[in-house]
Symmetry: C2
Subunit: 319 residues, 2 copies
Amino acid sequence: MKSIAIGIDIGGTNTVFSCVDVNGKSYCNGNIPTQTRERFEDYISDLCGAIELAIENVNEDLKVIGVGIGAPSGNFHTGAIENAANLRWKGLLEITRLVNERMNVPVKLTNDANAAALGERIFGGAKDMADYMVVTLGTGLGSGIIVNGDLLYGHDGFAAEVGHIIVRPEGRECGCGRRGCLETYVSATGVKRTAYKFLAKNLAQSVLRDIPFNDLTAKKVADAANQGDEIAIDVFNYTGKMLGEALANVASVTSPKAIFFFGGLAKAGDLLFKPVQEAMEKNILFLYKDKISLLPSELGDDAAVLGASALIWNDQLSS
Amino acid sequence: MKSIAIGIDIGGTNTVFSCVDVNGKSYCNGNIPTQTRERFEDYISDLCGAIELAIENVNEDLKVIGVGIGAPSGNFHTGAIENAANLRWKGLLEITRLVNERMNVPVKLTNDANAAALGERIFGGAKDMADYMVVTLGTGLGSGIIVNGDLLYGHDGFAAEVGHIIVRPEGRECGCGRRGCLETYVSATGVKRTAYKFLAKNLAQSVLRDIPFNDLTAKKVADAANQGDEIAIDVFNYTGKMLGEALANVASVTSPKAIFFFGGLAKAGDLLFKPVQEAMEKNILFLYKDKISLLPSELGDDAAVLGASALIWNDQLSS
């Protein structure tokens, strides 16, 4: 009998799951659309049905020891998804209670960035670390922080929103209703906004001048930079500088041993991380100088479901 | 036999100790000058001698269960004072080893702000809290952060230097060698600097115009503000706004249930804390709005030694 934990990653469009052993090996996986059902209960019923069917089809005896769920606005303390901006169901969605009633195993919930942080500890590059941070660079900027070997949840379960540190008072408008949040500068969207700012400000020729805002992507800016496009290179230098300065400040709060980067924008590699490293070291308090490693996440494309399953494996390994 | 923990607070001028029971009652106390001895070992010997003598003179059987030490640059992980700027002895001072060899009980070390944070939990207003922060407002700005019920030390033992978050790039010169650190604005020294800035900028009459920089104190600015002095009131509004904005950002990292204030400048009361509260709530992410209490520390003038003894009592109570 093989012990597995089920990892579930709930996105706005698709919900993905995987049945993972303690070494991160997946025995089965699958996905269902997230928002086709009117009632949240029916969505959960579909999801559990799909998982049960996938497990039945495996030619091996699997023992499910728990279910870990990563979801935007997922609150570890309450076990509920709370007022998620990108889901059709409003208010408190008691997902851990519903899944537990159906599957009769421990169920744990947290947000996607926290799940990724824990995944790095169980399956990735942070195996021996008790204090580190994971930054996810996608449409926005998410973060999960591990201190004293545990996720930093804060008193309400909602700590570690590094993307919403205000780095420029009265700066760029943010989806959260305020201005100047880090993620308005450092994210795929932030890179697009910076590209347009620099196209307005400077006169240099650039391939980006032929791309309308709605067609522009961070990937296209990265490609242009790698071709030597001056404006595009400036965009990444600026983005990296903003992130490095912010990380220097976060270090004064949590003093991490390493910061791992994950997500689409992280694929820009040195283009982004060289200026991040420079700006962080230039702005950091002497106590932390040359101590913090900036590293790519060692989790692959399965990071979200691996991280979700790590919510269960972490408890097993530390008990 | 009464169990006591010894709390030691090492300042640049004096070293104070107190023998404290689990309720914070002191059975004896005393102090010695910190820096009259050339060798660190001799200073420690004098200190232990003074403590032993004080305990002998108590008319009650006392059992010493441990020694907690709060010191600037005290590192919990290594048990050493590391490169303290305000002490005559340089390099690593292995204080916990030396005191343990002499007194044969567990010895713990941390910095003064961390000790104050733990003291608030054992003896003060944070008895039921697992996630909160203490801010000490003196010559500088210190901080101790409790998360998941434990002090946040970071990977190197030096986390929670909130006073050295850069809040204004290229801002005021700081003793740490950089510019724009929070404590250059929010501290007794910061208040003086802001007063002089506003005296330069504005034309309003002010009693502060008769006080040379070297004679000015935060207390004099507070007294003037309480007398209705317009410049002095502006100084506290500015100081409070800077602190409130910074705390809103720190909340996005640690999401504390409460923030306690301690130290000389905290005595300014509403003059400072009304603008802090306003600026924090105005700038905070919606997730944390109206959730964080700003509170005065419930520890009195003994906070430093009480906090140091809490290093020992906290272990006892949580084991």
